[in-house]
């Protein structure tokens, strides 16, 4: 390890050090404000360290990690997402009593695991990063101990994540047997895509990663975990956790010949189209907004996979842009839910939002913008994301998949508009008294939502700077 290696790793080291500092801080004195402040500071330092690291990228640090522009871009995305989740959690945790401090250690560690994932070039770091992420999430999902649904969701996630990790490890072992290496680049050189051992290993790795991405047929846990987990944690699972695994999938596409091997290509096409239809159709009949967003996230991963299947720099750029837009949108949508949740329960049912536009026009406006972006309406980030995904798909003649995206978006529009129409309906008279006690949104929470909405519209009307950045990052990927 040379000095330059440490420079390259500094974003990762900063987040790890922040987790340790928060832990030591808690053991000295329990203070929610100090803990949250330390966490935010750690994330900012780490973000600032991305720039010195970028000046010496790309650099391979030990056989395990590679710090290239691609990894640094996704690290930035992970850090920004985690920062938003931290800020959204402040009030949510203050309302839920006991011992909110450990939450921040777990959140920092989850970010640490995600950053390891996006920078890994070796099965060892892939597995360790994924497990750091999963183990932190077990604690985070079940964090509010008085909430039975949260505990149930935590146990469900624990059991399923453990099984999928077993698949992943077995797959790695088979690929190692077939190719004799655990490094992605050497797997790419040593792989013969027709080798049944290699294919079996690749299939098991797809199962393990498919679980994390919650794509059909590995999506069954999603609605329950989304519903049971605290709203800010759900936002983290939906964005950072999935985004990091997807970044890894993009990195694996080359070595595993996913795009030039007909069988693997077909498998991913089926997964993509299945996710689009299953996610959108199942979302239609839900009455719980967290479950609607869960099913919609399944569909969105399907759209992302279509961009992924397009391949090349164009496909990777489209997928990364789509993911960035999805980060902003989903964090905003879950932000509204977290900030609206009261002391007693989260406001997660559609009828909780009846007439919101009349009482809280700004909040309803933000939520409307987020839902329209998820639906892919012009002037929002979601539209540009979908546009790039479809144009990448058309460029690679993936007609069937592109038509599925179009049909899926049309179905999706229905349930997003249903939520919006409820918000703009007249409030019910008899429930007025109960609704009136709902707390006001704090200044900080309002600021985050305003920033996210601004980002949403900015990405929707002026995407070229981000597209340029992503194209540079993606074309440097090795």
């Amino acid at each position: 390890m040379t000095t330059n290696d440490f420079y390259a790793l500094s974003p990762l080291l900063a987040v790890g050090a922040a987790a340790l500092a928060v832990m030591i801080g808690i053991s000295v004195k329990r203070s929610m404000t100090a803990t949250a402040g330390l966490t935010v500071a750690g994330l900012f330092v780490s973000f600032a360290m991305l720039f010195p690291a970028a000046s010496i990228a790309p650099r391979i640090v030990t056989p395990l990690l590679v710090i290239d522009g691609y990894a640094l871009f996704y690290m930035g995305l992970v850090l920004a997402g985690t920062l938003t989740v931290v800020l959204l959690s402040l009030e949510y945790l203050r309302d839920r009593g006991a011992h909110p401090e450990e939450y921040y250690i777990l959140l920092l560690l989850a970010a640490f695991g995600s950053m390891t994932l996006v920078a890994s070039r070796h099965f060892g770091s892939l597995f360790l990063g994924l497990e750091i992420l999963s183990v932190s999430l077990y604690g985070l999902i079940a964090y509010v101990r008085g909430n039975e649904k949260g505990i149930e969701a935590g146990i469900k996630y624990l059991v399923l994540a453990a099984v999928s990790a077993a698949f992943l490890v077995f797959g790695m072992a088979l690929v190692y047997t077939a190719t004799g290496s655990l490094e992605f680049s050497r797997i790419g050189a040593g792989a013969t895509p027709t080798d049944p051992l290699f294919l079996a290993g690749a299939a098991m790795i797809i199962v393990g990663m498919g679980f994390k991405l919650a794509v059909v047929p590995f999506h069954l846990w999603t609605p329950d975990v989304y519903e049971g987990a605290p709203a800010p944690v759900t936002a983290f699972i939906a964005t950072v956790s999935k985004g990091a695994v997807f970044a890894l999938l993009l990195r694996l596409a080359g070595p595993f010949h996913i795009l030039d091997h007909p069988t693997l290509f077909t498998v991913f096409s089926v997964i993509a189209v299945g996710s689009i239809f299953a996610g959108n159709l199942l979302a239609l009949s839900q009455g719980n907004i967290k479950r609607i967003l869960a099913y919609s996230s399944i569909a969105h991963l399907g759209y992302l996979l279509v961009a992924f299947l397009a391949g090349g720099v164009k496909g990777a750029t489209a997928a990364t842009y789509y993911l960035s837009a999805y980060f902003v949108t989903t964090l905003g949508a879950f932000g509204v839910i977290s900030l609206r949740s009261g002391r007693d329960r989260e406001r997660e049912y559609i009828h909780d939002y009846r007439g919101l536009a009349w009482r809280r026009p700004w909040l309803a406006g933000v939520f409307t913008a987020m839902l329209l972006s998820l639906a892919g309406i012009p002037l929002t980030a979601g539209f540009i994301g979908k546009f790039y995904a479809i144009s990448a798909g058309v460029g690679s003649s993936l007609w069937f998949q592109v038509v599925s995206v179009a049909i899926g978006s049309a179905i999706g529009l229905f349930y997003y508009l249903r939520v919006i129409s409820v918000m703009y309906a007249q409030p019910e008279r008899h429930s007025g008294g109960r609704q009136a006690v709902a707390r006001a949104i704090s200044f900080g929470g309002g600021m985050i939502l305003a920033l996210l909405t601004l980002g949403l519209i900015l990405l929707g009307v002026w995407p070229s700077p981000l597209i340029g950045l992503i194209t540079r990052a993606v074309s440097g990927m090795n």
């Binding site: 390890m1 790890g16 987790a19 340790l20 832990m23 640090v61 030990t62 056989p63 395990l64 990690l65 009593g97 006991a98 011992h99 450990e102 250690i105 777990l106 560690l109 989850a110 640490f112 695991g113 390891t116 060892g124 770091s125 360790l128 990063g129 497990e131 750091i132 183990v135 932190s136 077990y138 604690g139 985070l140 079940a142 964090y143 101990r145 008085g146 909430n147 935590g154």
Partner: protein
């Protein structure tokens, strides 16, 4: 030199199948110990004696003994004596014992034979494992320590006795 490997693998599969089909926790744990011992033997035969030793020391030793003790402590009470006597009937321990004797037989055979017992004909000494872990894979060791930290913090939070949380549960 494949026969000992195949036998140990079969024992591992059979005992693991028995673990997941038993309805009594203690019976399952007995099979799980045998399963871990046979996996350890598989590691040894693949030429990784260090991992084989760790498998026994950590899993079959520390963790399993902890499991068995916890299960037994949960049964404290007047009826626990009769229950423990019930656990000692032959049909409970014959299965694991037979499998364990098979493994013991293999172990004796390995000691009796002279060299070249592993499937590949070579072994990886503990020193090489250490050099790999603290050489190229140093970051892996650090990542594993962060993984343990996440596990400990999560378990500490979820397992803590807290007043305000209990009030919420009573609600």
């Amino acid at each position: 030199m494949n026969t000992p490997f195949v036998i140990a693998s079969v024992v591992a599969v059979v005992s693991t199948l028995m673990v997941i089909t038993r309805t009594n926790v203690v019976h399952a744990l007995l099979y799980l110990i045998v399963s871990l011992l046979s996996v350890s033997l598989v590691f040894f035969l693949l030429g990784a004696p260090f991992i084989a030793a760790l498998e026994i020391i950590i899993y079959a030793g520390a963790i399993m003994v902890l499991f068995v003790f916890v299960v037994m402590m949960l049964n404290l009470g007047p009826q626990s004596k009769t229950q423990e006597r019930m656990w000692l009937i032959p049909e409970v321990w014959t299965g694991p014992a037979v499998l364990a004797v098979i493994l013991l037989g293999e172990l004796v055979y390995i000691f009796a034979s002279t060299g070249g017992i592993t499937t590949s004909g070579k072994t990886v000494p503990a020193g090489d494992v250490g050099f790999a872990l603290f050489g190229p894979y140093l970051l892996g060791v650090e990542l594993a320590s962060m993984l343990l930290l996440a596990g400990i913090v999560g378990a500490y939070h979820l397992g803590r006795r807290g007043n305000d949380d209990e009030q919420k549960e009573e609600r």
